[in-house]
């Protein structure tokens, strides 16, 4: 249930973001989820590609720096308080959250989250019968 996410270091230069997606697109790699975090100096593009190994190789070959990190993804009801209950599970277990991103297209919210201990987070969520998404679930979207 642990998902491999790629983080790409980007300088704040116009067109750089476009290049990443152009390269992935040309190589027939789909991106299931992504988020761009930016500072005044640089940005980090986080993405979950359909083929992380190939995506990493292709980006490296194109001289991007690529870091692989472990994230988890889950679905929660799209209703007030749902995310709060989920995060409480982690807080109660003493698991920290580095960042998360997500959206709610309909009845459910989908969240990608980087805990400081991915394996422990998965175990906690399973204990509480949360709806965890696997990498292959994500690629179906």
């Amino acid at each position: 249930m642990i998902i491999e996410q790629l983080s790409v270091f980007l300088e704040n230069r116009s067109g750089r973001l476009h290049e990443v997606f152009e390269i992935l697109g040309k190589n027939n790699i789909n991106v299931s989820a992504c988020s761009l975090a930016d500072t005044s100096e640089f940005g980090i593009l986080r993405l979950i590609p359909s083929d992380p190994i190939q995506a990493r190789e292709i980006l490296k070959k194109n001289l991007f720096s690529v870091n692989v990190s472990e994230v988890i993804s889950f679905a929660a009801p799209n209703s007030p308080g749902a995310l709060s209950r989920t995060l409480k599970i982690l807080a109660d277990a003493g698991i920290g959250v580095d960042y998360l991103y997500g959206f709610s297209p309909g009845e459910k919210s989908f969240i990608v989250l980087r805990p400081d201990d991915a394996a422990k987070a998965v175990a906690e969520f399973q204990k509480h019968e949360m709806e965890l998404l696997s990498a292959s679930d994500l690629y179906k979207f």
Partner: protein
Amino acid sequence: MEISIWNRHFETMPREQMKNVQSERLREAIERVYYNVPYYRAKMQEKGLGPEHIKSVDDLNKLPFTTKQDLRDNYPFGLFALPMSEIIRLHASSGTTGRPTVVGYSRRDIAVWSEVMARTLTSAGVSKNDFIQIAYGYGLFTGGLGLHYGGEKVGASVIPISGGNTRKQLQLMNDFGSTVLACTPSYASYLAEAIDESDIRREDLKLRVGIFGAEPWTDNMRKEIEKKLKIKAFDIYGLSEIIGPGVSFDCEYQNGLHINEDHFIPEIIDPDTLEVLPEGELGELVFTTVTKEGLPIIRYRTRDLTRLHFETCRCGRTLVRMEKCTGRSDDMLIIRGVNLFPSQIESVLLEMDETTPHYLLVVDRINNLDTLELHVEVEDRFYQDKISELQNLGKKIKNQIESTIGLTVNVKLVEPKTIERSEGKARRVIDKRKIR
């Protein structure tokens, strides 16, 4: 093991005897320039000097200095001491501003150049059994041909590949079994990266020695290149106005470069007062050529800052040693009144595990205040997913540099391989204050 010395007679000559040789050659050189170069005659006459006033090296400090500007003013052949029919080679240094400086060699000058280069190569352990890949530029620049003649003189198999064309460099290095690589230190470090990225395995290469020069580099950079290329790296110093590469060279103990002082007499002066400084003090290096025929040059101000040491070296050579030049007074930046050499930044970057020596300094003046920005690539594994870690890394680099140079610097991490790699002299500084 016996240390190889090309010319034991001159390279291990007792100091007193060396002084006599220098004095005799200096007298002859002064006669030649006085009677053959109107410019030098006029400058000596201005000071009330004739050849009769220069009896030994102790009289050197009476003579006028020569600068790059003097060479430009006498462009192209005004300072030559021989008729052009006796000049068999011309080289020129690229002038970034205005005219280039032109140097001319007689047949004997080329022989002297080959001799000093043979000493240089022998000192680095190069012999007729070696394959020397010369990746310095050939052409008007003296680097390529200087190494070339020296390589032939010691009998090595010379591969005159010249600079650039990295793919071919690697192919020949592999196929010919090059044992010696001669190029600029920045190109050496570029080649090391290229080898890593190629299909060539380092253990299949026979490379063991590097002869690197033509730009200032630090001891840390030497260690880095030695580690990356798995070779022993030797520094070589020279400038075309004096002869080209071969003015001074590293021995295996690498505790200063031995100057071929039977041909080029060094002095260290205070660049402001122009007074000669005592042994061991840091100042500007000045050379007088005493055997050159085509373009003899008197007290040439190199702009390079160094110190001289006269004790006999562990290698047995008595030739005076100059410390590795890590800064040129020309390269020196003055930021908010503080002197800064780009090599200082480079040293810090090489000492940190996280950073690479690929950097660019951008100097600007904003609201009448000088600003210093450092663009630097970090080692691949340090491009983290977490922003806080990257920001901490930036801060760490900033602190390290600020505590070394005493100036505020803005550190900007850049993407890997985005700083221009140089196949010649690396461009490390953009001074926007000058552009405006």
